[in-house]
């Protein structure tokens, strides 16, 4: 933070764009808010590093999905029982059977390769994390904007609704919901319908967090001059909501989405850990930790890599989200 600023953000914001026009070739270009935020983000090395890490993980997850489910090149369920101690059921060799062939070691009993399983499980974690966040952001934004803009009884109804949702023991409800929905629901196959239910359940119960923030922002935005101007020009509510207010809400939506993704990834891992998420033998990080919990006394190494996978992924999103918030809203520092 000691590096000299290229141009202090404050000064470029203060200069109206019109004044900059016609100032000759060497004139300072006006910067949009997005450009300013991008400049700040680029200087934040921690945030950029986590951003790159997230990008790598997303690409890896897509590759994993293709290799595992579409082309069948990797097999996360391949047994390597020749590397398992037949008496104790744990991998032979040190550190949970870590070797060049199996860099993350092996699972006890069947000897499935942990690196392959962590790789194969990555797309489920990330898909549910992203998709559930999308569901709650869409619902939360629409509800929040409507409540904040129309106020009155509409606001009362939506706000109470949010209170009700926040009053639910989220994990218990998710467990119950996932438990009562039959495995074959929606005709999507075993993993498919589970993933669908998890996305819906997680997304549907976490929208009030975004909804409250958007409502509060909308309440203050709707009093601004540009909204008055738009309305006095005859704009109808949908135009004001989606063309005037929504673009001004992009920053908080982006920030809180980024911070909601890790929460949802943890949520999915928790449900899978409890045995109500994705079902074995499909590999997910949560189910692997759940299996590891039965082995901690004899094969403590089993838990390390699935746990680290969750930790590093969630940490990367949290760091990136923090950086994004600092970049988009410098007052929050």
């Amino acid at each position: 933070m000691t590096a000299p600023l290229e141009a202090s953000p404050g000064s470029s914001e203060a200069q109206p764009e019109a004044a900059l026009k016609g100032m000759g070739k060497k004139a300072i270009q006006g910067r949009s808010l997005g450009q300013i935020a991008w400049m700040r983000l680029k200087r934040d090395r921690v945030a950029m590093a986590s951003g790159v890490l997230i990008a790598v993980m997303v690409v890896a997850a897509i590759v994993a999905l293709l290799l595992d489910r579409v082309f069948g090149v990797i097999n996360p369920n391949a047994f390597h029982q020749e590397l398992i101690d037949p008496e104790q059921g744990i991998p032979t060799g040190p550190l949970g059977g870590i070797s060049l062939d199996h860099p993350f070691g092996l699972e006890p009993i069947n000897g499935r390769d942990l690196l392959t399983r962590i790789f194969a499980g990555s797309w489920i974690s990330l898909l549910i994390g992203f998709a559930a966040t999308l569901v709650s952001v869409v619902i939360g934004t629409i509800m929040g904007v409507i409540a904040g803009y129309f106020r009155g009884w509409v606001d009362t109804v939506i706000s109470r609704l949010m209170d009700v949702f926040l009053a639910f023991p989220l994990l218990l409800f998710a467990i119950a919901l996932v438990g009562v929905v039959p495995d074959s629901a929606f005709g999507l196959g075993r993993d498919g319908s589970r993933i669908f239910v998890l996305i819906f359940v997680i997304g549907f119960f976490s929208w009030p967090y975004i909804g409250r923030i958007i409502r509060a922002q909308t309440l203050s935005l709707r009093e601004r001059e540009f909204v008055d101007a738009s309305r006095s020009l005859g704009a109808r509510a949908p135009h004001v909501l989606f063309k005037e207010l929504l673009p001004n809400l992009v920053a908080p939506i982006l920030v809180y989405s980024t911070l909601l993704i890790p929460t949802n990834i943890l949520f999915e891992a928790a449900l899978s850990f409890l045995g109500v998420g994705i079902q074995p033998p499909s590999a997910t990080w949560g189910t692997m930790l759940s299996e590891a919990s039965r082995w901690y006394q004899v094969d403590a190494w089993f838990m390390v890599f699935p746990g680290l996978a969750i930790f590093i992924t969630v940490l990367a999103f949290n760091l990136f989200g923090d950086g994004l918030r600092d970049a988009l809203d410098p007052r929050a520092r």
């Binding site: 009700v164 009053a167 919901l177 438990g179 009562v180 850990f273 949290n318």
Partner: protein, 337 residues
Amino acid sequence: MLAYIIRRLLGAVILLFVVSLVTFSIFFLVPRIAGASVEDMASRYVGKTADAETIRQMAEKLGFTDPLLTQYGRFVSAIFVGADYSTGPTTVHCPAPCLGYSFITQNPVWPDLVDRMGVTISLAVGAAVIWLFFGVATGVLSALRRGTVFDRAAMGVALAGVSLPIFFTGLLSLTIFSYGLGWAVPGGTYVNFAENPLAWAGALILPWVTLAFLNAAGYARLTRATMLETMNEDFIRTARAKGLNERTVVVKHGLRSVLTPILTIFGLDLGILLGGAVLTESTYSLPGLGKYAIDAIVNNDLPKVLGVTLVGATFIVIANLVVDLLYAVVDPRVKYS
């Protein structure tokens, strides 16, 4: 003040009504929407091996064939006045508050829940005391020493804390402290406080610390952010200007406004935990409400899950109510409207 309390109480009652409606829907409406037939639902109670006729009879006995409103009415009346279940030749009475009847163990759910509540309350309250103290203290110190090594280290640890799932940290703690070093007893050895307070604390110390660490991380981050904002407020400058010493400024003026947001999420967090610290209890094999619900869902024993869900939601509603009432005490700026 009285009007405020009455309004809040009324709100809590309405909330409980909605919660019961939603809980009912999850167990009796959602399965139908997702494509399960009445027979599918009944088969969960008699086992999948039963023949079609037995299942059909069961569905009728359980009232799954009745209109939904009738079913909901029965569900609510059972809670207030109890209900009779005839699952075989004999009829069993389930006294109020009847939260259903396990068709696997043949026991009413409510007494089971009362049995388990002690474990969950011990776990939640103990951890809450630790995390509240350390979380807020760390947050305040970090804010006051912003940018120092302490601040950076504390916030780094806190960020790691909010990124770690309890079922990973818990397993690590069990491996290291219980199995490796032998300092703490392994999971699944819970003893009642009344029987042996020392053994009780011994069984809970590891879950307490682990759960408290993860929660303290979030509280430290929130406290620091709020404290930084507060210390820039005009009233802090005024307090300093009139010559108060820094300790008074921080404790009496700064800390006071941190209390409101902390109280809000503390109420919610404690309420959620009291309804079953599902993950912690599963990781450490503690026989609390959450473990009860998870064991039940594995056995498809839905009435038990329904019971825990309803009790859990009630805890949250009560916790929110208490927080709302405490607001008035803590923050004089809150108007009773």
